[in-house]
């Protein structure tokens, strides 16, 4: 008799857009044990299905939506899923994790994953209501923003359907566009330009609804364990509940872990106070958003009730947006940042890319890399709020100078050459999130080696240089953030750890309080799925999945030459702030990293490692 897989739905839904057909495929125990789910399933299917030389915007690419075995369960903060394909922005592995409620609904409809192949001839939206799957015309929906589309599609499908969609930027295949869920809550799979993949496939949205109950191996024990852990998770994450990720603005600025003036300066104390999570709470907060089963509620519900932006309401800016719109562009006005954030959400673009691209433009204009001929006759000056908003709109609408920026840094560098490259803060084509690698040596090596390009979420290694340990991963003590030795190993271990969370799919914020450890995850996973999971199994899965993505990137031409950071980070100390003089010794740390990973000196996984991981 076939073994049931507990909280896995047990099926993957495949939709062939070219031929307007769909079918399902069973999730086997072998696949589940080897690849976990979420990010792990993404690694397996993208590597298997998408040729390394495929055009990311062509029919050969897939767009996959992958829940984890814990998505949709009462496990705290498990309302996440991963969206993946080959990235049109970077030309390599592309992945973005997102919260909200859509993943739970896909699981409720009876599927662990949805994989879109081919491309539609005309704009469509997909309606999944358990075993009824329809591909419908979206001719009347094309052009509608990500906030307004939710209600329109719910009117056409089911009032409780969850909607995953692209905005106008994704329709125009902006390479910095993302995939959005939860309407006004603006939950975003922002990175890697996956909105453009949906746009190329002409898929405006995917509506899902279902009430198929999840099966648990041992529900009573699981619920008791969750009940026991939840108060501690809430208590440890109280700061996130009160201030959201915006609560990081003040401490990150203080320790030099904050972008200032396109990453040229190290301190912005007065500005940080004006745009902090406390200022956001005191002036604009009206409530909080929770992803499904979330014990924290870090999402900010804001409203502006007077002034130029009166009437704005919805999702407030996250730390990343505050850092890159605020510190990097020198915009010290919270209302301007909130409005810019809302525009990005509605157009459906990644605020990290937008913030970096506008900061780049301000520096490029100052240095003569771009001129009024490029900018439509305008001065692009640091901290200019009106220009900032104009550029956000142009990027979202893919027009004027914004049309160039909307293709991301690789496109900008192609147009403006070496001088532009020198002030582009990217790794592998993906721009930096709002954490400074000069403030954390482990983060420098983590950015350089992250599979999707510069990414803090693939490691969160800097947390282990502040106040976090993970004995199961062999990280027994907090280490000096400016030390060199051990940082390659720390980056690799934390990358493997984060893959576990992205695969089961749980929010990493539950881990930062030290309550949800790999031991706890293994226990909950075993109780939910009925498959035996040890901590060692999970760690090996994490390593396997990370390496599988690396192998895909190697096929795309990635090697040590690409595992690097801009000269600004490696050669220019900022001279001020909490990490004024540190420069990360990247090459030495890379040697340690490769050695620990079992990769050769060019960063290629060696045969022994590949065989050991069953790849």
């Amino acid at each position: 008799m076939k073994k049931k897989l507990g909280s896995y739905a047990g099926k993957i839904l495949w939709i062939d857009l070219t031929n307007q057909k769909w079918h399902t495929e069973e999730v086997t125990e072998e696949i589940a044990k080897k690849w976990l789910g979420g990010s792990g399933f993404a690694a397996y299917y993208v590597s298997k299905l998408v040729p390394a030389d495929a055009d990311p915007l062509g029919p050969e690419n897939i767009l996959g939506f992958f829940t984890g075995p814990l998505t949709g369960t009462p496990v705290p903060s498990s309302g996440r899923h991963t969206i993946a394909g080959k990235s049109p922005l970077t030309g390599i592995w592309g992945e973005a994790s997102v919260g909200g409620n859509w993943g739970k609904s896909l699981k409720g409809a009876g599927y662990d994953a949805l994989i879109l192949t081919g491309e539609a001839a005309e704009p469509v939206y997909i309606w999944i209501n358990e075993d009824q799957v329809e591909i419908r015309s979206a001719a009347d929906l094309w052009g509608i923003d990500t906030y307004e589309i939710e209600k329109k599609i719910q009117d056409l499908t089911h009032p409780k359907a969850q909607i995953s969609c692209i905005g106008p930027a994704g329709e125009k295949m902006s390479k910095i566009s993302g995939i959005f869920t939860d309407g006004y809550e603006g939950r975003t799979a922002a990175r890697c330009g996956l909105g453009a993949v949906a746009g190329a496939k002409k898929v405006k949205a995917i509506a899902v609804y279902g009430k198929i109950p999840i099966h648990y191996e041992d529900k009573e024990t699981l619920l008791n364990s969750i009940k026991e852990a939840t108060p501690a998770i809430r208590e440890k994450a109280k700061g996130s509940t009160d201030f959201g990720t915006a609560g990081l603005v003040i401490p990150c600025q203080k320790i030099g872990d904050f972008p200032v003036k396109n990453w040229t300066e190290g301190s912005w104390e007065e500005g940080a106070m004006k745009i902090s999570g406390i200022a956001l709470r005191d002036k604009y907060l009206t409530g909080r958003f929770h992803c499904s089963s979330c014990a924290i509620g870090c999402g900010r519900k804001i409203a502006i009730t007077e002034g130029k932006y009166k009437g704005l309401h919805g999702a407030g800016p996250e730390y990343e947006t505050l850092g890159l719109f605020g510190g990097s562009c020198l915009i010290d006005d919270l209302e301007v940042i909130c409005y810019g954030n809302e525009l990005c959400n509605r157009y459906g673009v990644d605020t990290i890319e937008v913030g970096n691209l506008i900061a780049f433009s301000m520096e490029a204009y100052e240095k003569g890399v771009i001129t009024k001929e490029d900018t439509g006759g305008r001065d692009i000056l640091w901290g200019d709020k009106d220009i900032f908003i104009e550029l956000v709109k142009e990027i979202g609408e893919v027009k004027g100078f914004g049309a160039i920026l909307s293709q991301g840094f690789p496109g900008v560098i192609e147009k403006y050459g070496e001088a532009a490259k020198n002030i582009s803060m990217i790794s592998k084509g993906l721009s930096f999130p709002a954490h400074e690698p000069r403030a954390s040596n482990s983060l420098a090596v983590a950015y350089a080696t992250a599979n999707r390009g510069a990414c803090h979420c693939e490691s969160f290694s800097y947390k282990f240089e502040a106040n976090l340990v993970s004995p199961e991963m062999g990280i027994d003590k907090v280490t000096d953030r400016f030390a060199q030795q051990g940082k390659g190993v720390l980056a690799a271990k934390t990358q493997d750890l984060m893959v576990i969370f992205d695969s089961v799919a749980m929010c990493k914020f539950t881990m930062f309080g030290g309550v949800v450890t790999p031991t706890v995850v293994a226990k909950w996973l075993t109780l939910a799925t009925g498959l035996d999971w040890s901590v060692e199994d999970l760690i090996q899965c994490g390593e396997r999945i990370f390496n599988a993505k690396r192998l895909y990137n190697v096929q795309c031409g990635i090697n040590r030459e690409n595992d690097t950071l801009p000269d600004r980070i490696l050669k220019d100390p900022r001279g001020s702030g909490g990490a004024a003089e540190n420069l990360p010794p990247l090459e030495v740390m890379l040697d340690e990293y490769y050695d620990y990973r079992g990769w050769d000196e060019l960063g290629i996984p060696q045969r022994q490692k590949i065989e050991e991981l069953g790849l």
């Binding site: 440890k236 401490p251 203080k254 320790i255 000096d480």
Partner: protein, 81 residues
């Protein structure tokens, strides 16, 4: 010995101020200081583990021993990022 303590928002002393000079015993470490501060300022409800401690601008751990005339800065370091 005497040290300076600076709290960053939302943390503050009970009298609403954010900077104080404190007299502490020799060999006081960060953990001892935080225990002392619990009675003098608003650290709750965030808890000691959620705090980032800087001594003269450098990150410190709970076991770090304080020296005379040092400045200790205390910040809430929320989960997330």
């Amino acid at each position: 010995m005497k040290i300076s303590v600076k709290l960053f928002p939302p943390l503050k002393f009970e009298d609403g101020t954010q900077k104080k000079s404190l007299e502490v015993k020799e060999d006081t470490d960060v953990c001892d200081l935080l225990a002392l501060l619990e009675y003098q300022c608003i650290l709750d409800p965030y808890g000691k583990d959620a705090l980032l401690i800087l001594i003269d601008g450098k990150m410190a751990q709970h076991s770090t021993v304080l020296m005379d005339a040092q400045t200790v800065e205390v910040l809430l370091f929320v989960a997330g990022g």
